[in-house]
Subunit: 197 residues, 2 copies
DNA sequence: GGGTACATGTAATCAGTTACATGATTTA
DNA sequence: TAAATCATGTAACTGATTACATGTACCC
């Protein structure tokens, strides 16, 4: 899943290594965008933007920051009273790493790990009727999801200048639309029997 | 990631449990489609069909069948000579489990975990020029990928009746096309500055 | 018969995930 | 002040991934 290794050189002692993956960069990127954050802040921010195409579980957003802090990419402050939240900020190193990541080209193939598609590709094992039924189910599901995205997108449109988030919604819409087109094509022109490749 | 639990009742002793995930069903589904298979057969079959949208690492296809065999969903035969390959077949139970899975509706939201998109959503951290550059890179990548899919698709078209595999390719094409449209739209109409949500 | 590509496995690691448990704050 | 919601964490598990290591068959 594309994971970068980073050597950390402390003043003394041997260098340690940390692995940086998508969740690491989401944390870095979000803090870069919205400033010093608690894990909960991150969760909210994720929900409002990237979660349209990539959802990061809450727990990850609690686990990852301390890990990054230990590597010196973030600094941690803790509130004195109340919930004593842990607030994380980018260090200079952290910002450098983030910038380098943003600069670097991304050529990893993206997969659409969709269970519905998976079933369809084994669909010849079932009846043509079942395939049709399955296609209609999937169609409906993606239509519903598109509707949600459309609503969100329209809500965002009311505030001019919110483009960067909209853009992720927009990809969500295109994504769902592609599925809708696909399942429609399956319904209109169902696959024939599988001649055992 | 949608994982089913299955209780296994042996003749004697307490029932054991096995977790079934996508890789489990790919193995079951493939063996259901192409018959008794070695892990290598599975790997080949996966490569020719589902890998267009979901790639399963080779090692998984070696690890999963024994696991399923232990749970009684597959039976294992081993060649006497030569490579002494392990050939796995569906048991009755295995076929039942597969059929039930194929019958069941799939309502898990599919994500397009795309690093390029992720970077874009943090793009406001960099310069507008870099965003454009990034968009062009992504565009090219998806165009290349689409070209590959097109070629495959055409090759498949030469043999009439191969529809069920083609269908997965077709989704791959749509998927890439959606990305292409998206990145084109980003280039034509770049996002404005981020007003810190 | 020597080299190369094909094929088969395993071991170790670890990120991601689920599930659980508790605490703080608000509101009715 | 009780209930509900919001928020914060942690523990444990395990599937997936990487990397390695070896073996077999084929081809020149």
């Amino acid at each position: 899943m594309t994971r970068d290794k980073l050597e950390i050189h402390h003043g003394d002692g041997p260098p340690t290594e940390i692995n940086l993956g998508p969740s690491s960069y989401v944390v870095l990127g979000m803090i870069g965008r919205i400033g010093p954050s608690t894990p909960y802040d991150l969760k909210q921010a994720v929900l409002k933007s990237v979660a349209f195409f990539w959802d990061f579980p809450q727990s990850q957003l609690y686990v990852e920051p301390p890990r990054l802090a230990e590597a010196g990419l973030l600094s941690e402050d803790r509130e004195e009273f109340g919930r004593r939240r842990r607030v994380f900020s980018l260090t200079e190193l952290g910002r450098t790493v983030l910038d380098e990541w943003l600069e670097a080209p991304s050529d990893t193939a993206t997969e659409a790990r969709d269970v519905g598609l998976l079933k369809l590709s084994f669909g010849a094992l079932t009846s043509p009727e079942r395939i049709l039924e399955h296609a209609r189910e999937q169609l409906k599901m993606h239509q519903d999801r598109l509707a949600v995205h459309n609503a969100t997108s329209q809500r965002l449109n009311e505030y001019p200048g919110l483009r960067p988030h909209q853009i992720t919604v927009s990809m969500g819409e295109r994504f769902e639309q592609a599925f809708i087109d696909f399942w429609n094509s399956v319904i209109e022109d169902p696959p024939v029997e599988d001649p055992t490749l």
